[in-house]
């Protein structure tokens, strides 16, 4: 159960090696140790993440998960819930990819669409079914400012995020009467392995900053969290910039 002050007792991290996802889980674990399920493609990175959480006192299970294998999603969710209720599920997997290749190479485009949109929808539906039956739970969906107004510079990634963002906002509405909350998180530029080697955009933050905002957002029952907070105002202004001008902005 998530208690009155926002402590969950169990967390499922879909994208079990995500820097942001692990920062969120560790933030909770430092308050109180908890049961963690890491769903990810098997790797040394995954093992190291499990190890780190165990030293914080957590019980950790790993479940093999490939976002591009839709037929396996049901099994992933069944395994994740096999040890009891999941209080909080974090949907953190995603790929940025090479944006110029992405709109010109159908294979790359398809991977981005599958990982950033199709798989989150598929898992969202499966998580919703489980959590409805539980009568409680929270889902955190890592969207991005890139989906708020899709830009020329990364529109394949951005369009996937726009789609999943809309899906999880809608899912939150659908699940409201069933005791399940959905929190959509829109970070700006976060320095993680996903953005390694890229020049940091203005207002860039760390995975820990995102974790702090998410923990507080879940505790307060927020439906939408921007990181950093002021991005909300920047983006709502940008949203209304005429297309001709928007095109010329250096972003």
């Amino acid at each position: 159960m998530i208690d009155a002050v926002g402590n969950p007792q169990s967390v499922l991290l879909l994208g079990g090696t995500s820097d942001i996802g692990l920062a969120i889980v560790q933030r909770y674990a430092r308050q109180r140790p908890l049961r963690v399920v890491l769903a990810a493609r098997p790797s040394a990175r995954l093992e190291a993440a499990a190890e780190r959480l165990m030293t914080l006192g957590c019980t950790v299970h790993s479940v093999p998960f490939d976002a591009r294998d839709p037929n396996g999603h049901q099994t992933v969710v069944d395994k994740a819930f096999a040890h009891g209720d999941i209080d909080l599920a974090v949907v953190a997997f995603g790929v940025l990819g090479d944006q110029e290749r992405a709109w010109q190479d159908v294979q790359v485009a398809r991977e981005l669409a599958e990982v950033n949109y199709v798989a989150p929808v598929s898992l969202g539906v499966l998580l919703a079914e489980r959590m409805r039956a539980q009568g409680h739970g929270s889902i955190v969906a890592l969207s991005s400012v890139a989906g708020e107004r899709v830009r020329r510079s990364n529109f394949v990634y951005g369009s996937g995020k726009a789609g999943m963002d809309g899906f999880f906002l809608g899912l939150g509405e659908a699940l409201r009467p069933h005791g399940v909350r959905v929190c959509v998180v829109r970070p700006g530029f976060v320095r993680t392995k996903m953005t390694d080697g890229l020049d940091a955009a203005p207002l860039s933050v760390t995975a820990e900053d995102v974790a702090t905002a998410v923990v507080e957002g879940v505790r307060a029952g927020k439906e939408l969290v921007w990181v950093p907070g002021p991005l909300r105002w920047v983006m709502s202004a940008l949203r209304h910039v005429p297309r001709a001008l928007f095109r010329r902005l250096p972003m």
């Binding site: 159960m1 208690d3 009155a4 002050v5 009568g135 005791g179």
Partner: protein, 454 residues
């Protein structure tokens, strides 16, 4: 029976309005319907709910079935000689007081609100201002009918299956459903109390006054200021008294000494912002309240509702904490652990978390129930909005209280851990063993039992 299987999904919280979950809620109107609901429950179990006045998650069962027992509230009989009543578990103490006070019978234990059911009073083994002399609610139950997981109804009491009886008292609904109980009421001559009020300048003064002559009073409690710091830390207003006899009443009240008067309940407006109760507003209120109280006043006549249930005059007052809700934190620290009590009060007063309703009282002896809360010592209750950082503060206090041999009250808890619970209730294993013998599959389940792996 159609109504039972098609219970509607309902969002439920406790009085603190935190950690809401959804369950199927049904309101049975007969014991047959209750038995039917228990028989046809889903895998997520079933739980009885009374008036939902526990503060945390004790009366919730996410994804399962919750039976609102308030539809079962008949008063079957009253024995005028012994004062023993036979009543359905869904009856409220409010209804009992209204019905029985004119007959010269008062509830043996009343909490700070009349809006609790007999079932909830037994399941939480509630205490009142008279705990130091008359013990908790379970001490006044002669016997009760418990619907168990296997569908049987057992009549149990302190001399009949005492182990199961004492596990049901304070058992938070997890041994079965209390259908009906025989309770010894207390004879009174009037519907009034004689009250002594005095002010204490600080926590030491307060504890000294309570320790000195509490035993002279049937009822005793102190409200203290949790915002003042330094030399005024723990300044307080003590109100202590007895049930008034007819001779103690002024002439004008003697004509109808048992007339129960409780003001019409006003509803608090439904929408309050978060943060309405903050250090500034509470500080001002506390100052006024403290100043308004007489330094000392003896022998004042107050009505039962004035003395016991001042909050009942305002319905839904819990909404003033705003949509985020609040946490009530109540613990008992054994006599001898006064330093721990002081440390806790200091820690709360110096934290950014302000508490508005703060109560300090001395408990007398406990009873045989393994999960009953009251034990000899000092009990302190504070109310705090569920703001960021509150969890860490209370986790810290938990450790101090467990170290000192104290414990938290399950009917108010909404955030402690299973590890802390195990330290605070050393007889938990005994309780679990007996509960397991009557409910091996954990049919009776609550959010609290899931959270604390009970």
């Amino acid at each position: 029976m159609g109504a039972i299987s098609s219970g509607l999904p309902r969002t439920l919280t406790g009085w603190g309005r935190t950690a809401s979950t959804v369950a199927k809620l049904v309101t049975p109107t007969s014991t047959d319907e209750i038995a039917e609901a228990v028989r046809t429950r889903s895998g997520r179990g079933v739980l009885a709910r009374g008036l939902g006045r526990s503060y945390g998650d004790a009366a919730q069962n996410a994804g399962g079935l919750v039976l609102d027992l308030c539809g079962l509230d008949e008063l079957h009989s009253v024995d005028p000689d012994t004062g023993v009543i036979d009543v359905d578990a869904g009856a409220s103490l409010d209804a009992l007081i209204r019905r029985l006070l004119p007959l010269g019978l008062f509830v043996p234990v009343t909490p700070g609100t009349r809006q609790v059911t007999v079932g909830g009073a037994i399941a939480a083994d509630i205490h009142g201002k008279n705990h130091h002399v008359q013990g908790s609610f379970g001490n006044h139950v002669q016997s009760l009918d418990l619907l168990c997981a296997d569908g049987t109804v057992r009549t149990i009491g302190p001399d009949r299956e005492p182990e199961l009886f004492w596990c049901t008292v304070g058992g938070m609904g997890l041994t079965g459903i209390v259908l009906r109980a025989r309770i010894r009421m207390m004879p009174v001559e009037t519907a009034y109390c004689v009250v002594d009020t005095e002010r204490a300048d600080n926590l030491d003064d307060l504890m000294a006054r309570l320790a000195e002559d509490d035993h002279r009073y049937t009822y005793s409690v102190a409200w203290f200021d949790a915002v003042a710091t330094g030399a005024r830390l723990g300044r307080a207003v003590l109100t202590r008294g007895w049930n008034a006899t007819r001779d103690q009443l002024p002439q004008r009240l003697r004509g109808a000494p048992l007339k129960f008067t409780a003001k019409e309940r006003l509803s608090a407006p439904p929408v309050f912002p978060n943060g309405l109760l903050n250090r500034a507003t509470i500080g001002v209120f506390n100052e006024l309240w403290f100043r308004k109280a007489p330094r000392e006043r003896r022998g004042e006549i107050q009505t039962i509702s004035q003395f016991f249930h001042p909050l009942d005059a305002l319905r839904d007052w819990n909404r003033v904490y705003g949509p985020r809700g609040f946490v009530q934190y109540q613990f008992v620290a054994p006599f001898g652990a006064e330093e721990t009590l002081r440390r806790c009060v200091e820690r709360i007063s110096s934290s950014p978390h302000v508490s508005f309703l703060n109560v300090l009282k001395r408990f007398g002896d406990g009873n045989p129930a393994p999960l009953s809360f009251p034990a000899p010592g000092w009990t302190l209750a504070v109310d705090m909005p569920a703001a960021p950082g509150l969890g860490q503060l209370l986790d810290e206090l938990d450790e101090w209280i467990a170290d000192a041999g104290g414990r938290l009250y399950l009917a108010k808890d909404s955030r402690m851990t299973s590890a802390v619970l195990r330290r605070m209730y050393p007889r938990l294993d005994e309780w679990s063993r007996i509960r397991h013998s009557v409910d091996p599959d954990g049919v009776f389940t609550s959010d609290l039992s899931r959270r604390l792996t009970l």
